[in-house]
């Protein structure tokens, strides 16, 4: 392949980019070896790329970097940055969630699991491995055979420890001996809890 000067000038930029076919590159290499004018154009173009590619050619006004840094800092102060705007509400919310979580954890450590009946009393000194019975939708656990077990077809046997972990409370009838109110002699509270469970069970029983 033989190339003319005009074709070399037309392709000289692609030649420098390495963006030409190998056959054309070889032909141009050969041309440069023999054509003083084209080799002058090639060297001159290389020189242009080298000189202008030098970072010293990119002059910035005096103090440019300092002003840019100041503006960035000012922007960060004013807006806090786009995602920092989120943080203005995200951080308090996260803190609240953590606080609430902590509170719940503290409660769980001090008060045990959340009770299914808010008026009920957790049992005391109930043997953890004692087998008890619970039923679906009920709030209390019973000793097997208790007369106050309703909805018996959904009966499930588990240990007292597991029942309490699930939030069940002792039956005021069959588990009376383990109730805090009974031991403390707080009849008012005991009555209230008793009434609550009775009402609950009566209501459900009535609804069946």
């Amino acid at each position: 392949m033989v190339v003319k000067c005009e074709q070399v000038w037309h392709e000289i930029s692609n030649y420098l980019e390495g963006d030409i076919e190998p056959a054309l590159r070889s032909a141009m290499d050969e041309h440069f070896r023999t054509c003083k004018r084209c080799s002058s154009v090639l060297e001159g173009t290389r020189n242009v790329i080298r000189l202008y590619g030098d970072e010293r050619m990119m002059e910035v006004p005096s103090g440019f970097g300092r002003r840019l840094e100041r503006r960035l800092a000012k922007n960060a102060r004013v807006t806090g940055g786009r995602w920092s705007v989120w943080s203005t509400w995200l951080i308090p919310v996260a803190a609240l969630v953590l606080f609430a979580g902590g509170l719940r954890l503290a409660n769980s450590l001090t008060s045990g699991p959340e009770l299914k009946s808010e008026h009920a009393q957790p049992g005391q000194d109930i043997p953890p491995d004692m087998l008890v019975v619970v039923t679906t939708d009920a709030k209390v656990f019973h000793v097997a055979g208790c007369d106050f077990i309703h909805n018996k077809e959904t009966e499930r046997t588990l240990t007292a420890k597991e029942a309490m972990r699930e939030g069940y409370v002792p039956c005021l009838r069959c588990m009376r001996e383990f109730l805090h109110t009974a031991k403390a002699g707080s009849s008012a509270l005991g009555s209230e809890a008793d009434a609550d469970i009775d009402a609950d069970e009566t209501h459900r029983h009535g609804g069946e």
Partner: protein
Amino acid sequence: MVLNNPVVRNPVQDAATTREQDLIARVQRGQTELFYELVKPYERRVYAAAFAILRNETDAEDVAQEAVLKAFANIRQFRAEARFSTWLIQITVNEALMRRRRERTVVMEGIDDRRDEESDYAPRDFADWREIPSEALERKEVRQKLAAALASLDRKYREVFVLRDMEQLNIQETAAALGISVASVKTRLLRARLMLRDLLAAGWEQGWFSRLPFEKGNKPW
């Protein structure tokens, strides 16, 4: 000289890239105070890109700052597949083009802008080329002459040349940044390079580069 050399691993460059990636990750995680550190190595390039398009120091600086703020606001969208410098320069070019459109300065461009891009450009000066060494750039008047030669190019040639040969974007990135075809980038780049070569050759004859160190009898050619 082939510009698109195959990638040769450079330990210094690798370390710089790793450090940059680390900085990006930290800024994305919220250490926003590190953003300037991330941008600092490219601040000259950001300004040069804005200036190439706007040709006004005040506007260029303002747009450069706006572009950096925009990059800061969008840093979480930056993906590691791209080069950070390219991403930053593309944002800058976009900001500068928007500013120019807003201020309608395009009509002030020279008559050459309307010339057919496909027409051939023939080099004018075939005098023996004398290499201008990089040390010449230490002299302010040399830099000013080169900057004046670049400024004399029509906008469409100047912009492509600056993005490709000064900002080191590749052909495709240059095309994408300016919203023109790859073919147009290649044509304009060829023209810009040859015109600058002619201007420098003429400048040499006019004594632009006189009193350079190598002229004291120690000629490198």
